[in-house]
């Protein structure tokens, strides 16, 4: 067996893939230009114009494709490409080079290289322009030279794609049916390659560095997108683990354990563009809809009509499912100019979430509740007439409203009173609305301790494991020095979760979990054993979690959970659950 060689980078998806290395080298080397007197400038001008038209069409096609697969935000990069293609500076540069007697491809290269160099020397977002320009330059050169480069949409099945850099147009072309993994020398967690890979659930490692360039074409390569490793000539053990982690296929509809216990698998959604991918990946609904996206990056809060339209479109995407909207959850850690959020010594322990909604943001909160109640109404009659929207009359899923950062029973009582008053206002105004399911997030130790009393008052509890872990372990998520303490598998956290589910046993209150823990398929059996009724996962891992649910026996899961709860160290828990 050959020795395996491990290269490190940044893992971007919790997936492992194995396949055959294939290098993607889109750069085109032009030979020296012919003597100017042998070149016909008119013919070259026309070649350039034709190439530019073809490039424009291709960019528009890829733009639509990217929007469909990843979302409008990522597709916008193609708008920039189109703008640069028609930029007067580019036209002037090419025109001048053609005037010097260069053929079209050399004119393109000379013009673009000047701008690439200029932008590459700048900082931040401006440096990204250099990548956009390289991408555009190579596209034009490929067209002009009829270059046969890898058609990324048509690579053989089982390809592990290696590249120095992957441009937005490259990544938009990747076909997850054929590409087993991606490894890139450059790029970080938020690079285009990383964002696309995550959206397509491809095993991917970026930022591997120069060492990747030594991997020969045709080598067997394993890409571990969780550990951030690229393994050349992987041994049998490694390959076996890759087989196990191969992505599950999408399952439509609800799943149950092998003994028939229903477990809802929903998706966490933070931006509207993630709603459609959640549907495509078979989520039963949305278990955590972060409404913050509506409030960030603007100068004034969204009004009732705008909010209602946003909530309705999420509800329309899941006519058979439930959409759990979390009310505005902000504190001193996110700047929102119009809210005048106070500087806080420790924003995570300060005035945030429900504390603001019942305090300085009371008006905003009431508006949000009105929008939510109205959004849930099935009727096509919009009451006021001004808010008619294109979802009117569409079948809508069930709305649920959830409060963040609850630590006292009084908070829930106060919100229930506000809810009643909003409903009665809508009643008197004759505006149609529906009373949503109502629940609270369990993310403070106080809420977990009071879970039984909360369960008597609400329809559901949803355990937010990221914050709950932070508060139970008293370890800030953002502080690297204590990052190791921020692990939901610590027995203290597991016992807090169990305390919560047990408190709701025998009541009508269901208990869900949102947060990264719920989306880790390696923990699905444990979570079922701990008594969760719903798991809200990241969009990417929804199919894996569903697959795990349908393979789990709930009695065995309970036994596993009992053993984990009895453990005293995180190492024991990890051993019991069977993860490294």
């Amino acid at each position: 067996m050959p020795d395996e060689r491990v290269l490190s980078g940044i893992g971007v998806t919790p997936r492992v893939g194995v396949g055959t290395a294939r290098w993607h080298r889109p750069e085109i080397e032009l030979s020296d230009p012919p003597a100017p007197e042998t070149v016909d400038p008119e013919a070259e001008r026309s070649r350039f114009e034709t190439a530019r038209d073809r490039a424009r069409e291709a960019i528009e096609r890829e733009r639509d494709r990217a929007e469909e697969r990843v979302g409008a935000e990522e597709a916008a990069v193609f708008d920039a490409h189109r703008q640069f293609l028609d930029d007067p500076q580019i036209s002037e540069g090419v025109e001048s080079a053609l005037g010097d007697g260069l053929p079209a491809e050399h004119a393109v290269q000379r013009t673009f290289d000047r701008f690439v160099e200029q932008f590459a020397g700048m900082e931040g977002r401006m440096a990204e322009r250099a990548d956009d320009l390289r991408d555009l330059r190579d596209r034009l050169l490929r067209i002009l030279t009829d270059a046969t480069t890898t058609d990324l949409a048509a690579v053989p099945e089982g390809t592990v794609l290696l590249a120095e850099r992957l441009t937005p147009s490259d990544t938009a072309a990747l076909d997850p049916e054929r590409v087993a993994g991606v490894a890139v020398q450059t790029g970080g967690r938020t690079s285009h390659a990383a964002i696309f890979a995550r959206a397509l659930a491809l095993p991917a490692v970026v930022g591997v560095g120069d060492a990747l360039s030594d991997v020969p074409e045709g080598a067997a390569v394993l890409v571990d997108g969780e550990a951030g490793e690229v393994v050349v000539d992987p041994g049998e053990n490694r390959r076996a683990s890759a087989d196990e982690s191969a992505g599950a296929s999408v399952r439509e509809g609800r799943v149950t354990t092998t003994d028939g216990r229903a477990v809802e698998v929903a998706a966490n959604v933070g931006r509207p563009v993630e709603v459609d991918p959640a549907v495509e990946r078979g989520a039963d609904g949305i278990g955590l809809y972060r409404t913050e996206f509506l409030f960030l990056d603007r100068d004034a809060p969204p009004d009732e009509a705008e909010q209602m339209a946003a909530y309705r479109s999420a509800l329309a995407a899941f006519p058979e499912g439930r959409v759990v909207c979390r009310t505005l959850d902000v504190g001193g850690d996110k700047p929102i100019p119009y809210l005048d959020l106070p500087e806080s010594e420790n924003p995570f322990l300060g005035e945030r979430g429900i504390r603001r909604s019942l305090g300085p943001d009371a008006d905003l909160f009431e508006t949000q509740l009105r929008a939510l109640l109205r959004a849930g109404a099935e009727s096509g009659d919009d009451g006021g007439g001004e808010d008619a929207d294109d979802e009117t009359g569409a079948a809508l899923g069930d709305l649920a409203v959830m409060l963040p950062m609850v630590s006292r029973i009084e908070e829930v009582e106060s919100v229930l009173a506000v809810l009643e008053s909003v409903a009665s206002d809508l009643d008197s105004a004759g505006v149609p609305y529906a009373m949503p399911e109502f629940g609270v997030m369990v993310e403070t130790p106080a809420a977990a301790t009071l879970a039984g009393d909360l369960a008597e008052r609400v329809d559901f509890l949803s355990i937010g494991t990221n914050d709950l872990t932070q508060y139970v372990m008293a370890a800030s998520r953002g502080d690297e020095r204590v990052a190791a303490l921020h692990d939901p598998l610590y027995p203290a956290v597991l016992r807090t979760i169990r305390q919560t589910t047990r408190a709701a046993d025998g009541t009508d209150c269901w208990v869900g979990m949102c947060g990264e823990m719920a989306g880790d398929p390696a923990l699905t059996e444990l979570l079922i054993g701990l008594g969760l009724d719903e798991l809200s996962a990241s969009v990417v891992t929804v199919p894996d979690v569903k697959a795990r649910v349908s393979e789990t026996d709930s009695e065995a899961a309970r036994a596993l959970a009992e053993r984990a709860l009895a453990a005293e160290t995180v190492a024991e828990v990890r051993e019991i659950v069977g993860i490294e």
């Binding site: 930029d87 500076q89 580019i90 401006m126």
Partner: protein, 97 residues
Amino acid sequence: MRRVVTVVPEAGLHARPAAKFVETAGEFDAEVQVGRADEGDDGLVNAASMLGVTGLNVRRDEDVLIVAEGDDAEAALDALEAILSTPESGDGESEDA
């Protein structure tokens, strides 16, 4: 017609201020060029080019030279000066939320 203006927006002549500048320059019949004031005429680029304008890498508090030729040159200079003198317009945001 020429004018020297100090750049006020936080982002300098990048991102939104640049996009607005380019868009506005394109609305006039006058031929407009822009450059860093300390480079004089040698540093001028087409003001209707996003690449050219952002490529200048002009930051806040730097001086730029705007040169406009044509019937509505003065109006063009006034409009462009207004953009460069406004801290951050803030409009156009509400649509993409």
